[in-house]
Amino acid sequence: MSSETKQILTTDGIPLEISLKKAERKNKIKAFLLVAPLLLFLIITYIFPIGEMFTRSIDDKMITNMLPKTFKSMETWDGKELPTEEVFASFLSDFKILVDKKEHGKLAQRLNKEKNGFNTITKKLFRQVKRNKIDETQSIKEQIMKVHKRWRNVEYWQAIKRTAPPYTSAKYLKAMDMYLNEDNKITQVSEDRRIHRILWLRTVEVAFFVTVFCFLMGYPIAHLLATLPMKYSNLLMICVLLPFWTSLLVRTASWMILLQQQGVVNDFFVMIGLVSDDNRPEMMYNKVGTYVAMTQILLPFMVLPLYSVMKTISPSLMRAGKSLGGTPFVAFWKVYFPLTIPGIGAGCLLVFILAIGYYITPALVGGASGTLISNQIAYHMKTTLDWSFASAMGLMLLGGVLVIYWLYNKLVGVDNIKLG
């Protein structure tokens, strides 16, 4: 037994494991230095921004920092009746500092988001403070309550207390058309204001169908590419890749020219008498336009992985299937198709993930019924400047993609993916 557990030594008497580590260390360092630039690049451009997005999406520290004393004194308040004199006093002292820093407007804005009506009463309080009307030797509670009747309403103090935690899930709830009500319960917004959920569903639906269309069209093309003789397949390959080399914007714009009501496709339909001139179908600024343009743009992402897998399938396998008595369909379905599954998986995953975050194309040809969640994100980034909301939605999108990836791994296995 002892000979088995004994360390194996090199001829110089150093334990083998240590010696091996020493010998390998140099290579490891070299390898690390080679990938270090990429790692650094990834950290700076990818991991760090995602972390930043995440903190921004849940960040609610601004108000926490504005009213430190208030929240401290509120800790013991049960929130059922009006708070004590102490809370009012610390609120006033926090407020005075904000007035000095001219930040009371921000506070009003933030509180107003929590509960409507704060704007007015904060302004009134500000005027009183500015004119030094509040006598700190008297009861501060009484004086503030006199500023406006809402200061006597316990609901407003409850709203202030709700903003105390430095983090909030409000943005995520908002993206799902939900919010936290006064009792800290998750509630749905009223039916006529639910817009995000429709957008999420539409995004998934569009991505799904675009993937299906790409698969249905890409599979035969890839098969043809893999089986044609070199000189034809090269030409076909260029045809597949040509749109790839054209700017996305140009391609989308050309779809606009084709699909608009006075466009080429409609002209053609009218010419062959398929539709009457005064009844041209709308193929753009709706889902149809989004489907058509996105399918065409994402097609190469389906064709290329499929092609690379099909190229490796020996033609003798199909022949073997046929010579063993399988009809061409049986040979295809039992032999050829199962062997292309890694390519199908890779292509579908690629197209779906790209489609779910697609932005320019739906923005240009989608119209109102064809816009997706990414357009909504862009809208909040650029127009409303609610970056934390945009971050929250972006992260939800990222999370969704990760979930799909995980599901795919469970169902098919990521090792089965073959990208080329």
């Binding site: 046929k322 010579s323 063993l324 008595g325 039992k334 199962p338």
Partner: protein, 361 residues
């Protein structure tokens, strides 16, 4: 049971891929039932094309192929009932050995227990019982090969085609597989059409060999006849080793002719020469020429030893004989000590019967 000698029949078959070059020219070939026939030839000689036409993956440009008297040109491959072993095995990589073998049976809608029985039998035939649940990638080259053979036989086809099935195996394995396939053929008596470019393989395994060159069958005969009595200089060159002399016929009688070489004259067996003045290539097998012959032989020459190569069981000598510097002799190492040294002059003799005067190269 009388055997059908025209079980497979190629009738005036031509094949062209591009409409310019014929890869198979006027092929007429009869294969009898239960025969092991090999199509042998260099690459590009049209042998694989013939096999593909028989399997149904290529259509003859002209002529017809008959299987058991029925024309089959219009029958798709999956209805021909011909088993095929492919060059790279073509095992289905996503199926186990069992599923591979069950495939031809399943598509024929055979009962499950019947399938089990047949798969079992086929696997034991290639001595791979117990490998049912392996994937092809988990098998060695030789095992994959045997699975491919078993799969081509499991549905009891009338004809099995083999397209250079042993090409990817190493030498030892190839040889043992040759015997294995030969024994399987002898045991079940299926008709086998085998394609190879390896003459050794062809000679060991076949009942008859069709030597292909340039889209034509050059000679169709049993292995021994092919080796001993090649009918033209291509076959003589392609099968086995061969010493050749180019010359001109100066005298001819019924079964012997005089051939004048560049420097010298020999007697030969007239095979494809008809009259005086014909150009000819005389072919002599290395083992037919003897050193210091004891028996009387009608050709006796003297040559200079140019090279001695030791081969274990025999020694090869390269001689300069009658102006041919590539004249090869095989000397068994068991024979009495000869003075085989470089530069020595030795006497070499052979019978005119073994020197075949064939068509000029």
């Amino acid at each position: 049971m009388s055997k059908n000698t025209e079980f497979v029949k190629f009738d005036k078959v031509d094949k062209s891929y591009d409409g310019k070059i014929l890869v198979v020219k006027d092929l007429n070939l009869n294969i009898s039932e239960g025969e092991f026939i090999t199509m042998l030839g260099p690459s590009g000689s049209g042998k694989t094309t013939c096999l593909m036409m028989l399997a149904g993956f290529e259509t003859p440009t002209n002529g017809e192929i008959f299987l058991d008297k029925n024309p089959i040109s219009n029958i798709p491959p999956h209805k021909r009932g011909i088993g095929m072993v492919f060059q790279n095995y073509a095992l289905f990589p996503h199926m186990t050995v069992y599923e591979n073998l069950a495939f031809p049976l399943k598509v024929r809608k055979i009962q499950k227990d019947e399938i089990d029985k047949k798969v079992d039998k086929a696997l034991s035939m290639v001595s791979l019982s117990g490998f049912e649940s392996r994937m092809p990638a988990q098998l060695s080259g030789g095992q994959q090969q045997r699975v491919a053979v078993a799969r081509a036989l499991v549905f009891d086809p009338a004809v099995v085609l083999m397209d250079e099935p042993l090409g990817a195996l190493d030498k030892n394995l190839r040889e043992s597989m040759q015997y294995e396939i030969k024994h399987i053929h002898e045991n079940i008596g299926v008709t086998v059409v085998y394609v190879t470019h390896d003459q050794g393989e062809a000679l060991t395994m076949s009942n008859r060999i069709a030597v292909f060159n340039d889209g034509k069958v050059q000679q169709l005969s049993s292995p021994d006849k092919l080796y001993e009595e090649p009918v033209n200089s291509f076959v003589a060159e392609f099968i086995g080793e061969n010493n050749t002399f180019g010359g001109e016929v100066t005298d001819i009688s019924k079964d012997v002719c005089k051939v004048k070489l560049q420097n010298g004259e020999i007697l030969a067996n007239p095979i494809s020469v008809k009259s005086k003045g014909d150009k000819t290539t005389v072919s002599i097998r290395p083992e037919r020429a003897l050193i210091n012959p004891i028996d009387k032989m009608d050709n006796n020459q003297t040559g200079k030893i140019e090279e001695v190569i030791y081969h274990g069981d025999h020694t090869r000598l390269r001689l300069d004989l009658l102006g041919n510097k590539e004249f090869i002799l095989k000397v068994p190492n068991s024979s009495n000590e000869l003075d085989l040294k470089l530069g020595n002059q030795i006497k070499v003799g052979w019978n005119s019967q073994d020197a075949r005067a064939l068509d000029p190269k």
